[in-house]
């Protein structure tokens, strides 16, 4: 059966994308995982891969054309299939979308006059206390009917809701299941700031994740040789830092940051590495890693990590990096999605 190939959001904030290049023509067949086209998002150019197989029956948005997320950019299916129904549907749909948009505009207009009403209708009203309890107990408040004025959810409603479900969090209820008591650990200022900074980074800096597998055999081999020669251990992190430093020197675009309207390509290569502490995380910086030999990097690193673990780092030792490495490999982690370490991160 013929299907629409829809534009998908290839960045968290993408609303529209431009087809930079089609890798397939009408009539071409493709396999699961093939890259069908390249899409320029609001951030970068991404590859569009489809985890299905089939034949491209019709390309709707040509190269250079734009499509909103959810719009059909092509039709695929089995070779020779009739897809005229889909074409009609797409055309109607596009009209509807236009009408829809108009309606939305209208609504916006209406809302201007009727802000308060709209506000009341769309949000769930809940007392601060009830909201806090719901959050603590991970209760979905959209399922609770509020008994307060205007349907406000109040403490009582949350308690009653739990009772209905047979799980009570209230101490005086008789249906308490025998579970250990929750432990509440107050957030340290450090953790609070880490949390605030990283969530800010996660929400405001567009994150996208690319994964490649690299054969590290040669490095491992060399590391062994050097270690034997020196009778001391050079960490894998030192190699990583050195490798990345060299790479950054070569690809300056990556050794950069966005500063308001400008992109700053750093002249220096200062590589931070995330080090866990009992009460948080810190990112000591190996300065000018591109200019240092592997032994120097290792020495710097060892000292920094040591000081980090003893909470002895000075602020200038853990701020103003140009690139940060988070490595969980030693914990047996194959792959994870780190958060960009914002500039001047304090902890």
């Amino acid at each position: 059966m013929a299907n629409k190939l829809l534009m998908i959001a290839l960045s968290p904030t993408m609303e529209k994308g431009t087809i930079v290049k089609w890798n397939v023509k009408e009539g071409d067949s493709f396999k699961e995982g093939d890259i069908l086209c390249e899409v320029e998002t609001d951030k970068t150019t991404m590859e569009y891969e489809l985890m299905e197989e089939g034949t491209i029956l019709k390309i709707i948005v040509p190269e250079g054309g734009k499509a909103a997320v959810g719009d059909a950019i092509a039709i695929y299916g089995e070779e020779g299939e009739d897809y005229s129904d889909l074409i009609n549907e797409i055309e109607n749909n596009n009209d509807e979308n236009k009408a829809d948009n108009k309606d939305k505009e209208k609504n916006v207009e209406n809302n201007k006059d009727n802000k308060i009403n709209n506000f009341d209708i769309n949000r769930i009203k809940i007392s601060p206390l009830a909201k806090k309890i719901a959050l603590m107990k991970n209760i979905n408040i959209s399922k609770i009917k509020g008994s307060g004025p205007g349907g406000r959810i109040i403490k009582r409603d949350i308690e009653n809701y739990k009772v209905e479900k047979g799980i009570s969090y209230t101490s005086n209820s008789t249906v308490v299941e025998t579970t250990d008591e929750d432990i509440i650990i107050p957030l340290s200022d450090k953790r609070k700031i880490i949390g605030e900074r990283l969530s800010e980074s996660k929400y405001t800096s567009p994150h996208f994740y690319l994964t490649v597998s690299v054969n590290m055999e040669n490095i491992m081999e060399n590391r062994k040789k050097i270690n034997n020669m020196l009778n001391e251990k050079i960490s894998l992190n030192a190699f990583l830092i050195k490798l990345i430093a060299n790479t950054l020197k070569k690809h300056k675009r990556v050794n950069s940051t966005l500063n308001g309207e400008n992109i700053i390509e750093f002249g220096r290569v200062d590589i931070a590495i995330a080090v866990a502490q009992d009460d948080g995380l810190i990112t000591p910086v190996v300065r000018n890693a591109d200019k240092k030999g592997i032994l120097q990097v290792e020495n710097d690193l060892r000292e920094l990590i040591d000081r980090a673990k003893n909470n002895k780092l000075e602020p200038e030792e853990y701020t103003n990096s140009t690139f940060t490495i988070s490595n969980l490999g030693s914990f047996g982690i194959d792959e994870f999605t780190a958060i960009i370490n914002p500039q001047a991160l304090q902890y």
């Binding site: 007392s127 601060p128 206390l129 009830a130 806090k132 004025p149 109040i154 403490k155 009582r156």
Partner: protein, 254 residues
């Protein structure tokens, strides 16, 4: 300022408005304007708040006027015991203190020890302990609040009564702790509602105990009108047991 420690008695604080300039522009400002050179150890005391049948000019609760002014301390006892302990502190204080005595309170009786004691400023007093709702008040309305508490107890509602005793300085800690415990608050204040002690305390709670509130803070104040002469009307204009109980039930959603 020059070395005396005067105590000014106003016949009523309604007449203190004629001395407003001296209190606000002089007493409250001298220390600050002189870069800390002068002390102003002066107490202004006298009856405040509505009595009965006196119409608008003689029935004003003036605390808000004074509490607004940095440099003044404003003290509002509600019992004879508190009045003695606080007045001693007021006289010993090196700052100008407005000491407000509810005009209707002069006939109230209560135990007062003969011996010397003082009550620190800025310490609220829990006049009744409870878990269901916090009622914050000060000065004369404490009486109607306590009457309301007795009636509420009969309905199984245990109200905690916080008597501020001192408006400036304000005991924020006791207020917030109580609200964190009960999650609900009614503020009873015999002055007008607009930019009042009650509205300030209400803001304080929304600011510092926001996540502990299960209901918006309710205010029971005088109606937003000058006090009339007619007795029925003037009673209707002031906080009453009925209004307090209604407000308590509102924050309890019953």
């Amino acid at each position: 300022m020059a070395g005396l420690r005067p105590i000014v008695e106003f016949m009523t604080f309604n007449f203190a408005l004629q001395a407003f300039d001296q209190i606000v522009n002089n007493a409250a400002k001298m220390r600050y304007m002189s870069g800390g050179q002068f002390k102003m150890p002066i107490v202004f005391r006298g009856p405040n708040g509505p009595a009965e049948y006196l119409s608008s000019q003689h029935s004003q609760a003036t605390q808000t006027f004074f509490a607004h002014v940095p440099g003044l301390k404003v003290i509002t006892p509600a019992t004879p015991y508190d009045a003695k302990g606080l007045l001693k502190t007021a006289i010993r204080d090196d700052n100008p203190v407005i000491f407000l005595e509810g005009e209707m309170m002069y006939s109230w009786e209560g135990e007062v020890p003969e011996e010397e004691y003082i009550i620190e400023f800025g310490k609220a007093d829990i006049k009744n302990e409870g878990n269901d709702v916090t009622i914050i008040t000060y000065s004369k309305p404490l009486k109607v609040v306590m009457e309301s508490v007795t009636l509420l107890e009969k309905e199984g509602i245990n109200a905690e009564v916080v008597d501020l005793r001192s408006i400036r300085p304000l005991d924020e800690e006791t207020i917030i702790k109580s609200v964190m415990k009960t999650n609900r608050c009614v503020i009873v204040d015999e002055s007008w509602p607009f930019v009042s002690v009650a509205s300030h305390v209400g803001w304080l709670i929304s600011n510092k105990a926001f996540d502990y509130l299960d209901a918006p803070v309710e205010l029971v104040t005088s109606e937003d009108v000058p006090l009339p002469y007619n007795h029925k009307l003037e009673l209707a204009a002031q906080p009453s047991v009925e209004k307090i109980i209604n407000a308590v039930k509102k924050v309890l959603y019953i």
